[in-house]
């Protein structure tokens, strides 16, 4: 059971952060289908930092630098979406898909080159080992092994909720995703707000990426990307109706299912059921599809999302 809680916490942390990222982007009017790719970039940068830091680095140093690298990588890669979709009115679905492909390919190439260079030509794999980095993030409360990552995610969640409901910035951001002409008419720079939304999504998805690969594992094969966590987060975001607190609840729900698929073997009565672990993986998707079917007629998706804003068109 402790294991279940542990996994649930970790998956929740990932899903919450990435889904919040998606939310900020979509609230500004840009559909971010490239979350998966941004996560890969964030994960890669963080993992490289953990590998590169000298063995005697303090825990604090490891944690800060790793998170910083991930967030930065996420933000930089999200610019690929921002530039194409905001300045060049590119198709947001196409660009998101391209970024996902780009990320996996780039991560594989970079990590392989990184390994080759470090090993002096004996290691060509796309795998990174960062056991000491992984350990730096762990701490225990009683029988529960916890990760600083979960704490970071919780803090970011609280910040996101406060920002989303209490600040001038979020009010303007949301206006741009709903009615950019109205925002423009009161002097708000729609382009700037949309850039902010996408970059925040890059920040959060980047951090989400490192948590995904480092909180429960101490090695990662980068040719796998992040195995759909970004898309699952998208489902969490829709399930959470583009609202931070609802996203948090949906993320936990989804994370429980996801964790069950990992640990159901250890839980007596579940193991007795003739259900394959994969079924638990399917559940979140089936649920969100059905929920969407019943709620889409009055969906709360930001009204102007996916539509390029052209200042000339009034």
């Amino acid at each position: 059971m402790a294991l279940l809680i542990q996994y649930t916490l970790i998956f929740s942390a990932v899903l919450i952060l990435v889904a919040l990222g998606g939310m900020f982007s979509e609230r500004s009017g840009i559909i971010n289908l490239g979350l998966e790719g941004i996560m890969v970039f964030g994960a890669m940068a963080g993992a490289m930092v953990m590998v590169l830091l000298p063995a005697d680095s303090s825990k604090f140093k490891i944690i800060t630098l790793t998170l910083l690298a991930s967030a930065l990588a996420g933000m930089v890669s999200s610019l690929l979406i921002a530039v194409a979709c905001i300045n060049f009115n590119a198709d947001q679905t196409l660009i998101g898909t391209a970024l996902n492909m780009l990320a996996t390919a780039a991560a594989t190439v970079i990590i392989k080159a990184f390994n080759t260079a470090r090993s002096g030509g004996s290691d060509f794999s796309a795998k990174l080992d960062y056991i000491k980095g992984h350990d730096a993030f762990m701490f225990s409360v009683g029988p529960l092994q916890l990760s600083w990552f979960v704490v970071v995610a919780a803090v970011l969640l609280v910040i996101a909720i406060v920002v989303f409901y209490k600040t001038k910035f979020a009010l303007r951001l949301r206006a741009c995703g709903e009615h950019p002409q109205a925002a423009d008419s009161v002097g708000i720079n729609v382009y700037k707000m949309r850039y902010s939304g996408v970059i925040i999504s890059g920040f959060l998805a980047g951090v989400g990426g490192i948590i995904y690969i480092a909180a429960a594992n101490s090695t990662w094969h980068f040719d796998y990307g992040v195995a759909g966590a970004g898309f699952l987060s998208l489902a969490v975001m829709i399930f959470g109706q583009w609202k931070p607190e609802r996203i948090a609840w949906s993320a936990i729900l989804f994370a429980v299912f996801r964790s069950l698929s990992n640990v159901y073997m250890g839980i007596g009565f579940l193991q007795a059921l003739p259900i394959s672990g994969t079924v638990y993986n399917i559940m979140p998707y089936v649920i969100s599809l059905l929920v969407l079917a019943f709620t889409s007629k009055n969906s709360r998706a930001p009204k102007a999302e996916g539509i390029p804003y052209d200042k000339g068109q009034r």
Binding site: E178, H179, S185, K303
Partner: protein, 511 residues
């Protein structure tokens, strides 16, 4: 020396092909309600866009409090205290009233909203000017009238003292209009200066101090409302000169083709009907015109008639057959032709070639297809034939992408298609909108020819010249109802203007 708060002097704004504003002067006194009157296309919106910084004029100056100012974008206008209630509200539907009001000028501390003081200011303003709103209500839940009050509060919150109202009553119910009039008087009494764009004479008579009239891009004059009459305003608005007459013989109406009984359409904007209890008929061999000012339910009515929109109640009969709830395809194949209001949205698939557009409703007929295969040769022949007959000109003939054709030729292509299809009734909605004189003439001739061939024609038009010249009977639509039926031979433009602006009605029905 008069105390003018805003002066627009000798403003000229040209667009390729037309002069939208030709040497127009508008002077707004402090604390007055100044109406700007004119037909559609008279240049009112262009003039206001110049004042709001959306367009830069070729000639002319704008003065604020006697000093010349440059307004190059809406932010400049806002800085000068100019605010505008747009015809289509600029409100974020899922935000609360308060959030909409403060958006863009939010009071905040370290980036955090400090709504308490904003709420107080909004409530104060709302009490002072009697603008009742609930600051916490969500925009999409409140009435259009209340949304408009939010727009007004947005201007007041920013301490604007020059307020532009762009056709503010178009979407309101009579009660809401009455209330708005009171609010406007209140605002003026408090020292705000108001520019009120409209073409409803009753409202001008009720609320405005002075009225400037534009016609076809030119400045006609400014009058003191208390010294004028509706008739005078109406004649200044429409003018007396009729541009071109259409040659046509006396109509010989025959059997009834279209019968419309008590048709109602629910509004998408407010709880009232946008079309209310409309009944009339059109006979073979006559042109019946629905006249009226834009936004009085014509679009919704045509939508219900053709099937593009839902009808909420009533009955429509075409050639004796009840077609009220029939599909568009059924109507298309049972005698209804439709020249739509928006040729780019509905009338054409812009990325299709001319020949593909020519068969838009007929592609499945045996003439053009065989077992699901298009007969390309027939399509081409047909397209060439129609282009020849209706003088549709295009760069590459049948293969021209319609998007690349001129507006006039696009419209002629639609008209050719709709007139050539087998039909008994032709619905022509603003068939000459945005076209040059030559094209207008051709189209008018075609419509008369169509009538003389024994078809029934329902014309919906905003152009008074067109209405007067082309129709055999005129129905005037005002706020979703037919308020009058007049004979174009005996009526005058002034009388028509009175009906259109709701100042007069002659149907036996209660208002």
């Amino acid at each position: 020396m008069e105390d003018y708060v805003i002066e627009m002097l000798h403003i000229t704004k040209e667009f390729p092909g037309i002069i939208a504003n030709d040497d127009i002067t508008l002077q707004l006194k402090r604390g007055e309600i100044h109406a700007l009157l004119g037909e559609n296309g008279a240049g009112k919106s262009t003039l206001m866009s110049v004042l709001f910084g959306l367009y830069t004029p070729e000639k002319g100056v704008i003065k604020k409090d006697g000093k010349e100012v440059k307004i190059t974008n809406p932010n400049d206008a806002t800085d000068l205290g100019i605010g505008m209630v747009h015809q289509h509200f600029m409100l974020v539907e899922i935000f609360s009233v308060l959030d909409n009001i403060i958006l863009g000028s939010e009071p905040s501390k370290f980036g955090f909203l400090t709504k308490a003081e904003a709420r107080k200011k909004v409530l104060d303003l709302s009490n002072k000017y009697n603008l009742k709103v609930d600051p916490d209500a969500i925009i999409e839940d409140i009435t259009v009238g209340m949304q408009q009050r939010v727009e007004i509060l947005k201007m007041l919150y920013r301490d604007n003292d020059i307020l532009i109202f762009d056709e503010p009553t178009a979407v309101l119910t009579p009660q809401e209009i009455e209330e708005l009039m009171k609010i406007m008087k209140n605002l003026a009494a408090e020292g705000k200066s108001i520019l009120f764009i409209t073409h409803k004479l009753n409202e001008i008579m009720e609320v405005a101090d002075r009225c400037s009239i534009l016609r076809k891009g030119k400045y006609i004059g400014t009058v003191d409302v208390k010294n004028t009459t509706k008739e005078e305003l109406s004649s200044m608005m429409v003018g007396r000169n009729v541009k071109f007459a259409v040659d046509k013989a006396e109509a010989k109406p025959a059997e009834e083709v279209l019968k419309v009984e008590n048709v109602c359409v629910k509004s998408k904007l407010h709880s009232n009907d946008s079309v209310h209890n409309v009944s009339f008929n059109v006979r073979a061999g006559e042109i019946v015109c629905i006249a009226g000012i834009d936004g009085n339910g014509q679009t919704e009515f045509v939508g219900a008639l053709t099937g593009l929109d839902d009808i909420s109640s009533g009955k429509i009969t075409l050639c004796g057959e009840d077609i009220t709830n029939k599909s568009i395809r059924f109507k298309n194949t049972h005698g209804m032709s439709h020249i739509p209001e928006d040729r780019h949205k509905h009338g054409l698939v812009l990325n299709y070639t001319l020949q593909e557009n020519m068969i838009l409703q007929r592609y499945f007929e045996p003439v053009f297809s065989n077992k699901g295969l298009l007969k390309k040769a027939e399509m081409r022949k047909y397209s060439d034939k129609l282009s020849e007959e209706f003088d549709v000109r295009s760069g590459q003939g049948a293969d021209t992408i319609v998007r690349a054709m001129s507006g006039g030729n696009q419209q002629k292509a639609i008209i050719a298609r709709e007139m050539d299809r087998e039909h008994k009734l032709l619905i022509a909605v603003q068939p000459t909108r945005g076209l040059d004189v030559g094209a207008i003439e051709t189209i008018h001739k075609e419509i008369v020819k169509e009538r003389d061939a024994g078809n029934a024609i329902l014309l919906v038009s905003l152009e008074l010249d067109e209405v007067m010249n082309l129709s055999d009977r005129i129905l005037v639509m005002y706020e979703g109802e037919i308020v009058g039926e007049v004979d174009p031979k005996t009526t005058t433009l002034q009388e028509l203007g009175l009906y259109m602006s709701g100042a007069k009605r002659n149907t036996g029905k209660e208002a």
